[in-house]
């Protein structure tokens, strides 16, 4: 479904160059829950950004369903980010001026003109409320992000990522800023989404405990994939493991 070929990415600042990805190849299959693990600086997040068209590679190509997407015009990449990809970030990245409902609705606000939004607003609002209910935040829709805990904010971010029915969820350290219990809850939700709705998930994580919840684990070192395996043990709730 999503394929990266010979990706190279180098960050330059003045005379300093840091090669982050070095001829990386990766294929993500439809409906799978893929986790990417590796040490800090191994290029995990950069790979995720390239896959999601948030950044462009220096060399190499990225395909979605066989169609190259890394060189698309800006407008088509914007459309892909709005409709095809859903993002979940380590630091939640909710807009502080908006309440939870508006935060979840933001992709729909962006994807519709004023008139179009006005005509479909009830349908979108219903979907946003369902998603908030699904992540257990039905009672928090009028709250602002500063009034919520880290776990609640991350669940809101998941609801936002799912609003437009994306085909691929790109999660960058979704549990990195949470305690074990909240992190486990997030992984459970992602797992449910993957299983129930068939959404392909690519998750970057440091946490080796939660990778057992995924179908496939890719290990990166210095910008290349060095290991591509399936977890041996069935996934358990991390909180249980912690107990």
């Amino acid at each position: 479904m999503l394929k990266a070929e010979n990706l190279q990415k180098t960050y330059r600042r003045h005379a300093v160059q840091v090669q982050v990805l070095n001829d990386l190849n990766l294929e993500v299959r439809t409906g799978e829950f893929l986790s990417i693990v590796g040490a800090s600086g191994s290029g995990k997040s950069t790979l995720l950004h390239l896959l999601g068209t948030l950044d462009a590679p220096d060399r190499g190509r990225i395909f979605l369903d066989g169609k190259r997407i890394d060189d698309l015009p800006a407008r088509e990449r914007d459309w892909l980010r709005n409709r095809t990809f859903g993002y979940i970030f380590q630091f939640y990245h909710l807009l502080p001026e908006l309440n939870m409902l508006d935060n979840v609705l933001m992709p729909a606000y962006i994807g519709h003109s004023l008139l179009n939004w006005w005509q479909t607003r009830r349908q979108w609002r219903r979907r946003a409320e369902e998603l908030l209910k699904k992540v257990g935040l039905a009672h928090r829709i009028k709250h602002r992000p500063r009034e919520l805990s880290g776990g609640e904010m991350q669940r809101t971010a998941i609801a936002r990522a799912l609003l437009m029915n994306p085909r691929v969820l790109l999660a960058d350290e979704p549990t990195g800023n949470l305690d074990v219990e909240s992190g486990g809850e997030i992984v459970r939700i992602l797992r449910d989404v993957n299983r129930a709705e068939g959404v392909t998930i690519v998750m970057v994580t440091h946490n080796t405990e939660i990778v057992s919840a995924t179908d496939r684990v890719v290990r990166m070192v210095n910008g290349v994939v060095i290991d591509d395996t399936q977890p041996k043990q069935p996934w358990q709730q991390p909180r249980l493991a912690a107990v």
């Binding site: 999601g52 800006a74 993002y87 807009l95 001026e97 933001m106 939004w117």
Partner: protein, 488 residues
């Protein structure tokens, strides 16, 4: 949709936006108030400048008046000249014409036992004719708006005159001449003084009235408490001596007149120098043999006919190069131009205030964009385009400008409407008069709100707000989402 939502939310939640709004608001309010006051002053000044002048003035520098001759070489009287004007091509556009004489003179009178002498502009008029050409009776104090004002003394004025005579006789004895001041020149001898034998009781001659400028007749000073006091130095019925130059050799001549009314235009230049006397009497004193030095003309439609009438009149007086023909605007040209220039410069300077507000928008927006660095990344990751992000900040600038303009317009109109009350309160608080009425001779600060100016100020301020938000908006649009999202 998200652009509108975020514009409104940013406006509601950012206190920095409030500073932008206040900057624009103050700039717009100041511009509206200053323009309204300047326009008020300008309009009132123009009204008054026009007020004592008729639409078109024909005048000559010859001290003995117009020397216009017919085909046979006979000198024309003022009535014949008027007849010629009315029969010219300009005639149908003219509503009224009246002859006048203008000369410089010295006015003398007694005030608290002292002789006061003032240089004045002496104008001989037929009061009824002068009223018909406009700008006269509306400025008289006693005969205000009278259709047929005159130089006749009222019974009260006559009584005052009689009292003056009686008082003088009581103080100086019955054989002393009447209570009138002596002319500055001891022996003018060219033209005899009119017989004024009121002190001998032989014959009561006609008492000639004079209308004097209000400031000539009233002295203003501050008393011990610092309050402004106005005292009438010349009351109705008081006598004055007017000395001017007359005859072929322009020797000093004078005449006695009795105050019958005041001219109060609230233009200090006029009120402190204009003195009106009967035309025939001035002609007689100056030995002008029925001539006039000016003709005041009122047009039926000034704006439409001023050019064509001027052209026609120049044809009538083509053989008299010393004759000047000018509209009231041409007469007051330099002053009117000065008012316009002053207003233009003031507007330019004040628009710089809005410019300063624009720079504060630029600075604050740059701060807001830096602050919203992460939000911009989030929106781009959710599919917002660079143009969409730019529109958010442009819209934000436009919204700040619009809200600032709306508040500034409200504030400006409110201040303009209540400016006199505000001035009084500020004067009471500070103890310093912000609008000294004795300087301006206006009862109130004049204001005139021109809707076109208000619209122009608003449009200008909104455009400035939008233009100054362009650069920060463009910077926001160029942000790479991944750089904004990488770190918390």
């Amino acid at each position: 949709m998200y652009k509108l939502l975020l514009c409104v939310r940013y406006l509601q939640t950012r206190y920095l936006a409030f500073i932008c709004i206040v900057s624009v608001m103050l700039g717009v309010a100041t511009l509206i108030v200053v323009n309204a006051v300047m326009s008020g002053f300008s309009t009132k000044l123009k009204d008054r400048l026009h007020g004592v002048l008729s639409d078109v003035v024909i005048d000559t520098d010859r001290p003995d008046g117009f020397e216009v001759r017919d085909d046979k070489g006979n000198s024309l009287t003022p009535d014949q000249i008027i007849d010629r004007i009315m029969k010219s091509g300009a005639g149908p556009q003219i509503e009224a014409v009246t002859p006048t004489i203008e000369a410089f003179a010295i006015l003398q009178f007694r005030y608290r036992g002292t002789v006061i002498a003032k240089p004045v502009r002496l104008i001989g008029i037929d009061p009824e004719g002068r009223t018909q050409v406009g700008g006269f009776s509306e400025y008289l104090v006693r005969q205000k708006d009278a259709p047929r004002p005159s130089f006749e003394l009222t019974p009260d004025a006559l009584q005052r005159h009689a009292w003056n005579v009686e008082q003088f006789r009581r103080e100086n004895g019955p054989n002393v001449p009447a209570p009138k001041v002596q002319p500055l020149v001891a022996d003018p001898n060219a033209i005899p003084e009119p017989k004024m034998e009121i002190d001998r009781g032989i014959e009561q001659p006609k008492l000639h009235g004079v209308i004097v400028g209000y400031t000539i007749a009233h002295f203003r000073y501050k008393d011990e408490s610092g309050n402004l006091v106005e005292e009438a130095a010349l009351k109705e019925g008081d006598d004055v001596i007017i000395t001017t130059a007359g005859g072929q050799e322009l020797k000093p001549v004078w005449g006695s007149f009795y105050v019958t009314d005041y001219l109060k235009t609230e233009m200090s230049e006029y009120d402190q120098s204009f003195v009106y006397v009967p035309l025939e009497q001035l002609q007689r004193i100056r030995g002008m043999m029925g001539r006039a030095t000016a003709f005041q003309i009122k047009l039926k439609n000034y704006d439409r006919d001023k050019e064509s009438v001027g052209k026609e009149l120049r044809g009538v007086f083509k053989n008299s190069p010393e004759v000047r023909i000018a509209t009231w605007e041409e007469h007051q040209g330099p002053l009117l131009a000065a008012i316009d220039v002053e207003r233009g410069i003031l507007n330019l300077l004040l628009f710089m205030i809005v410019g300063v507000a624009g720079f504060s928008i630029l600075a604050i927006f740059t701060m807001i964009v830096s602050e919203k660095y992460r939000d911009i990344g989030i929106m781009k990751s959710l599919g917002a385009s660079s143009w969409g992000v730019m529109q958010i900040f442009l819209g934000y600038g436009l919204l700040l400008g619009t809200v600032g303009c709306a508040l500034g317009t409200g504030l400006g109109l409110w201040i303009t409407r209540n400016i006199n009350d505000i001035e009084k309160k500020l004067t009471a608080w500070t103890g310093t008069s912000l609008f000294p009425r004795d300087v301006y001779y206006f009862k109130e600060i004049p204001t005139n709100i021109d809707p076109a100016t208000v619209v122009l100020v608003n449009v200008g301020a909104v455009v400035i707000a939008a233009v100054f938000s362009l650069l920060p908006a463009w910077r926001a649009a160029r942000l790479q989402p991944v750089r904004a999202l990488r770190f918390e």
